[in-house]
């Protein structure tokens, strides 16, 4: 397994980052650290996707000098998917940060367990 992993270095790195980010999102108690974990997880997936598109020795898919042969450019599809994904990631991060700001104003703490405990005492 190790030799195969060395042949796909970027994918391996992205999986390690994904694991760390996913665990942070799931198990960290501080809201800001959860958001950082989510961003790390998403960026890792984009690294994975972008690595899928690269071909050794070819250039970025912008036509220069009218050359439109397949052998001159890398695969453009993963770049497009990553563009879409980045916008989604930014949107979700802004929503989560807005939620964190409101929660902090209300409960004066960033710890999700403490917030849940404080919220349970409120009237529904």
């Amino acid at each position: 397994m190790l030799e195969n992993l060395l042949q796909t270095p970027y994918e391996t790195a992205s999986i390690i980052l994904f694991g760390i980010g996913f665990t942070s999102l799931m198990l960290q108690k501080n809201m800001i650290k959860k958001i950082v974990g989510f961003n790390m997880m998403d960026s890792a997936i984009y690294l994975f996707l972008a690595a899928k598109g690269y071909i050794d020795g070819r250039k970025a898919p912008i036509v220069v000098n009218g050359v439109t042969s397949v052998e001159a450019y890398i695969n453009p599809i993963p770049s497009g998917l990553v563009l879409t994904g980045i916008v989604v990631s930014v949107s979700v991060t802004s929503l989560m940060l807005a939620l964190t700001v409101r929660l902090y104003r209300r409960y004066h703490t960033l710890d999700i367990d403490e917030i849940t405990a404080l919220a349970r005492k409120e009237e529904p």
């Binding site: 994904f18 980010g21 996913f22 999102l25 799931m26 809201m31 959860k34 989510f38 997880m41 998403d42 997936i45 994975f48 996707l49 899928k52 599809i77 993963p78 998917l81 879409t84 994904g85 989604v88 949107s91 979700v92 929503l95 989560m96 939620l99 964190t100 409101r102 929660l103 209300r106 409960y107 999700i112 917030i115 849940t116 919220a119 409120e122 529904p124």
Partner: protein, 496 residues
Amino acid sequence: MESVWQNIPFFCILLCIASASFTSVLPKRAARAVCLLVVLAVIAMSALLIGRVSAYGGSYTYMMGHFPAPWGNEIRAGLLEAVVALAFGVIMLLAILGGLDRIDEHVFDDKQNLYFIMLELLLAALLAQVYTNDLFTGYVFVEIMTLTACSLIIARSKGRTLVAATRYMIMNLMGSGLFLLGLSFLYGMTGHLLMSHIHEKVAALAADGAYPRALTVTVALMSLGLAIKSALFPFHTWLPDAYGYSTPTSSAVLSSLVSKGYIILLIKLFYRVIGLEIVRQTRINNVLFVFGLVGIIMGSLSAIREKDIRRMVSFSSVAQIGYIYMGIGMGTEAGMVAAVFHIFVHGMAKSMLFLSTSGLVQVSGESKLFRDLRGSGYRNPIAGVAFSVGSFSMVGIPFLGGFISKVYFAKAAMLMNPTETLIVLLVLAASTILNTIYFLKTVITLYRPVPADGPADARRPAFVVSMLCLIAVNFALGTFSQPIIEAIRAGLRMFA
């Protein structure tokens, strides 16, 4: 040139999307009117589509743009998609009508048009997921649905809804990440994003025996991602808070539409992208089956312990989603038909339960505890009747939808090997008893004779109309279920 009616799915989706940006500049009343008109238009067009597609006799693809798939986007419409779109449209319309006055109460006036924007975009995302033939389009609209559903929860701004929305977003983001990673693996292995092409490639790869572990892990990642987002058993902790504390329209829409959208995408994944045989080989469906069974029992047990009526109804949702996953997990066509029919039954009954609960709570001094709801069935008769009909449907009393779906689950279970049949029948029986305990207890509480001293109930026309329509639909699902089941079966055959 294709016939005009084939443009209907495209019209529905783009109408919802265009109306969303239009609603952002409208004041409160105009926004409400636009939203209701858009949903009515979607219902009308979907009904027309059902008629034409059954006459056409198969599903057809529709190019979104000048380029054929796989280079351009494509949507595909068949009988099942049209029926599902109609059902979702009807549920959304009745949910909005039933909770209209509560929206006025709970959401700030300046921000009400934002609420209706979210509803329209939710409908657009649902329709896009139902009709899409491309996996990445499905992912983008899954994200739209996640964000709009979160906004529906936070529309009612109280401490507990904010916490519920945060926990909802955290679980949903985990699910999205897993789904996107699975999608990337699948793209890396097959090189296609169009569902039909992925199917051919995956079948070839499985036959060759290439990627033995990667294929299993990919299917597991994608199913796990969607299962987390639709609140399958161990991942349901966000559900009671999110459904219980938001405004009634949001609870109805969330419980009936949002989870079901993800489940429809999961069924599409199993049928059209991976193929049922390969899914059975990877045994993912067995995992979903077990979680579904456990969810049924645990959901009902948690519901019995609740003292707050809305949280009780939310825990009952967990149990019903367990039923649907049990049907999907069986991995047979009969199981899928039963699961899809239960999606409709649950959607209609659960939205009715949430909306009638809000009506009952209103005449009990805004308290949701059982001791204050005593006798509210007499104070608000229409809500009481609606709640009773919904409860009977969930328990499984004949002439209502829930009975038919339980019968079909049992019939599907008979086709499996004897141990599994026994387990399924036992779980069905146990859950019926557990459902009876908490639902009938509530109905009896509602109709306990107490001296009439509650506030007089102002008749709200939208609420009454919505309740009557929902009661009628629930009885229709129970009595005229045969054509619907036939349509689902034919639609599933076209679906692959």
